[in-house]
């Protein structure tokens, strides 16, 4: 015991102030082991240190598999994965959809990887750490990594990559994530294998912005021409080398012989093909007929037959993907928060979770804090359906005689069904909701105020994909100057809390602010967050180690056949 204590003290002596604070939180029981590991990875603590500290504090670090199938697999073989068709050219700057990012992540790699449990692990970065106020993050790069054109990966490549994505005059899709966080001049090479990110403002979750979560940011050679065509060579450091690409149809790969993990036996398969599908039903049928080995993503509503098929493995990952039902706080009948609260109280969340997702979702509590985020304060009471209370609130707001409002949204996924459910719920209290369900292009319009039903409608439903941290959800859709603020919510107290949350580095501080935000949003209810749904992936039963993420990546590094 003395030996263990001595070793523990030695480890603590090498830790930063932030890391020691995290260890204190674990030791005091204010953090679960899972939250400790997740937060520790963000701060750049290695798996060995996390494991040792958790053991020393009496916590086991056994794997917490959330449904992914793992097991020993045979070396070699070829696999075909059905993915959503990329919506356009495969260009690291402009990819903005799940199909495109699934392709990017095969030949390309990120500094860090955000896994299915939202833990960060190093890929091209070996380690990383923040300064005291998290305004500078320093990343040590892995050595002996080569691009698939044979050149070595160095700090200059990383600098060029992130300068391209943070250029305010550029066309990168990642610009919205870097806006106000990172500017091109802030990315600096310290030496050949060290890069420092000097941020525009402190950010405790910055490592997620250089992870697979910010899917455009695969590291490319400094010589890469960002105005050129990525599809010609599929540059990158990843485990797969492109052998053929047919626009709109498929991309085929062979294992990259010079991959930095090749000596460890990765990737396991020899060949990989990603087949593109424009709609969901055909790829589900293709999996059932065994034409596909893996389907990267499917919805519970369309893929119900997969959920009950014994010859298919389903991997369900909890996620922060959700729908937002906005109510314009500056327009009748929603100017009174009592009306907004009443609408939220009419929603039968467990009914929606079961009816729309076969239980593969979690009820939301009208804030972006999904249960999957470690910073979410779960002690805040869950809002549940209460029709009587809703009636009382409407009476207090002078709306007991009913009201009429138009709900705008788009025709995709389960969204029209959610719209119908809200319409039916509001009818219970004499309210009338007229639905305006249009194609997505019409609903989003030009995506700026005054030219978009999404941002201009009195009430609407918008789809938001998964993020590893809630920062984006907290900012643009809810802050006073937020560019996606469809509820037109203006609250100085909220804006201040978000700034505090973003700057907070340790988990207990984040959780303390999160509680205040959750409470404030429950009271104000500018947006209803009815549920957060799981990311579903399906494979044939003789396949293991496929590694999807709720973001839409499908990592095939260790995937193989069991028989």
């Amino acid at each position: 015991m003395d030996g263990l204590q001595r070793r523990f003290d030695e480890v603590r002596a090498d830790r930063t102030e932030l890391e020691n604070h995290l260890i204190d939180e674990l030791a005091a029981g204010r953090l679960t082991r899972r939250d400790f590991v997740r937060r520790g990875t963000v701060l750049g603590m290695s798996a060995a240190v996390l494991s040792f500290v958790a053991a020393a504090c009496g916590k086991s670090t056994t794997n917490t598999n959330t449904g992914g199938s793992t097991g020993s697999v045979k070396k070699g073989g070829a696999m075909t994965v059905g993915i959503i068709a990329p919506s356009g050219a495969i260009n690291p700057l402009t990819v903005a959809d799940e199909g495109g990012l699934a392709v990017l992540g095969q030949a390309g790699e990120y500094l860090t990887w955000s896994d299915k449990d939202l833990k960060l692990s190093g890929v091209l970065a070996e380690s990383w750490s923040p300064n005291a106020d998290a305004s500078v993050w320093t990343f040590k790069l892995r050595q002996n990594v080569t691009f698939n054109d044979g050149t070595s990966m160095k700090a200059a490549d990383v600098v060029k990559t992130f300068q391209a994505h943070s250029d305010p005059n550029g066309k990168s899709n990642a610009l919205s994530a870097f806006s106000g966080v990172l500017s091109p001049h802030g990315v600096q090479a310290v030496d050949d294998h060290t890069v420092a990110f000097h941020l525009d403002a402190p950010n405790g979750n910055f490592p997620y912005l250089v992870s697979s979560d910010n899917y455009n940011t695969i590291v490319l050679p400094a010589s890469y021409d960002y105005a050129g065509k990525y599809e010609q060579k599929f540059a990158g450091t990843g485990p797969w080398k492109m052998t053929s690409f047919k626009t709109g149809s498929e991309v085929a790969y062979e294992k990259n012989p010079s991959y930095w993990q090749a000596s460890a036996g990765f990737p396991v398969l020899n060949n990989l093909t990603l087949k593109f599908y424009d709609t969901e039903q055909p790829r589900i049928l293709a999996l059932q007929s065994k034409s596909l080995d893996v389907v990267s993503q499917f919805s519970a509503s369309t893929g119900q037959q997969l959920l009950s098929n014994p010859s298919i493995k389903v991997l369900a990952l909890r996620s922060s993907a959700h729908r937002q039902v906005h109510m314009r706080t500056d327009k009748e009948p929603f100017t009174d928060k009592l009306v907004r609260q009443a609408i939220a109280l009419l929603i039968d969340r467990p009914g929606l979770v079961n009816g729309l997702f076969n239980g593969k979702a979690e009820a939301g509590n009208d804030s972006p804090f999904a249960a999957v985020f470690p910073s979410t304060d779960t002690s805040v009471p869950q809002r549940t359906q209460n029709v009587d209370q809703a009636k009382q609130l409407l009476a207090a707001a002078g709306k007991s005689g009913g009201f009429t409002v138009t709900l705008a949204t788009w025709n995709g996924y389960e969204i029209p069904l959610l719209a119908q459910a809200i319409k039916a719920a509001v009818k219970q209290v004499g309210g009338t909701i007229n639905l305006s369900i249009t194609p997505p292009g019409t609903y989003y319009g030009d995506a700026v105020f005054g030219k978009s039903p999404w941002l201009d409608s009195t009430m609407g439903i918008t789809d938001y994909g998964h993020r590893g941290v809630p920062n984006v959800f907290l900012g643009a859709p809810l802050t006073s100057k937020g560019t996606w603020n469809s509820a037109h919510f203006h609250n100085a107290q909220y804006d201040g809390l978000v700034k505090q949350y973003v700057a907070a580095v340790d988990l207990s501080s984040q959780r303390a602010v999160a509680k205040q935000i959750e409470t404030l949003l429950l009271d104000e209810t500018p947006i209803i967050f009815p549920y957060f749904y799981s990311h579903l992936t399906a494979t044939q039963s003789n396949i293991a180690n496929v590694e999807p993420t709720a973001m839409g990546h499908i990592r095939m590094l260790q995937a193989g056949f069991t028989s």
């Binding site: 047919k246 424009d278 995506a447 996606w484």
Partner: protein, 317 residues
């Protein structure tokens, strides 16, 4: 005939120009800009602006129209805005795919439909006639996506006799490609059989009741010879027009079938380009479909005139 063909060619060019112009204007009326469609609703406005500038979609609409028209007149259809490859490199393989699927469907449904119509016409009012007309009509009214799902579930998922997709692996030979195209051709046969059979049947009945048929019978010509020489030749004329129209549909209108069978044909390309506001690609695909329609209509007119001595377009001039 030469003057007739020349005039039809001139009209075809005018039709294609009108078609492309209407599509161009129609597509620009739709809300949302191209950069926003590519980068998605959550991209930064600055990034959208930069991309639109790079693509040239921030230029005035008349200027964009002129650029496209002057390039198209020189045989250049431009570059796809979303896929960033020449439109012709997408159109060529897609047209070939659509032609292959149309050919397989055509080979299956035209003989079956004509045979069904002839048999029903000859058995007018009898149970066999009812079977063909009612059965064919029932098959026609079931939407093609329903037929598609049904045949996939039966022949690909349950029986595993045929592949679930229409797209054969790269480098496949003709027999393998045919194997992959059988299943998507089934729904087309179901949907078109009733239509072709009904038109053929109506033409047959009309021809059977015509004076020239009665005269041929009274002259003592055998029933088989009367049907072959007089009834079929006249009774099939309306069928030719219908088949010509359906050929255009088979090549350019199979959006749903191509999506369900994950087949990269012209129909799927039209759908995707319209969805993405990819104007050069949309106009290119619409032009190709227009050319296909005009060509098959012209061929039908020529065939019609050859089969029917009373119609001689050239001599009418």
């Amino acid at each position: 005939m030469a003057r007739f063909l020349l005039r039809r060619f001139g009209l075809a060019l005018l039709t294609l120009w009108l078609l492309a112009t209407i599509v161009f204007l129609g597509a620009h009326v739709l809300p949302g800009d191209v950069g926003r469609r590519i980068l998605g609703p959550f991209a930064a406005p600055g990034a959208v602006k930069a991309l639109n500038h790079e693509l040239g979609t921030d230029q005035p609409i008349p200027l964009q129209y002129w650029h496209w028209l002057s390039s198209a007149a020189r045989g250049r259809l431009g570059e796809s805005l979303s896929f960033r490859v020449p439109v012709s490199s997408l159109l060529g393989p897609a047209l070939l795919n659509s032609l292959k699927l149309a050919l397989v469907a055509f080979v299956l449904v035209v003989p079956l439909g004509v045979l069904g119509g002839v048999v029903a016409g000859l058995a007018d009012g009898r149970p066999l006639d009812r079977l063909v007309t009612v059965g064919g009509l029932s098959a026609t009214v079931v939407p093609e996506f329903v037929w598609s799902i049904v045949v996939i579930l039966v022949f690909a998922v349950k029986l595993r006799l045929l592949p679930v997709t229409a797209q054969a692996p790269l480098g496949s030979g003709p027999l393998t490609q045919f194997h992959y195209l059988i299943l998507p051709a089934f729904p087309l046969v179901f949907v078109l059989f009733g239509y072709i059979a009904r038109i053929t049947r109506a033409g047959m009945i009309e021809a059977l009741e015509a004076d020239y048929t009665r005269t041929a019978v009274l002259k003592g010509i055998s029933r088989r010879a009367v049907i072959a020489r007089h009834v079929l030749r006249n009774g099939l004329l309306p069928t030719i027009a219908v088949v010509a129209t359906q050929t255009g549909y088979l090549i350019g209108g199979l959006v749903v079938i191509e999506l369900i069978f994950n087949y990269q044909g012209i129909g799927q390309l039209v759908y995707l380009s319209a969805q993405k506001k990819d104007f050069p690609l949309l106009q290119g695909t619409v032009l190709v479909i227009g050319i296909v329609y005009l060509t098959v209509t012209l061929l039908a007119d020529i065939t019609y005139s050859l089969l029917n001595p009373r119609i001689r377009y050239g001599s009418a001039e």
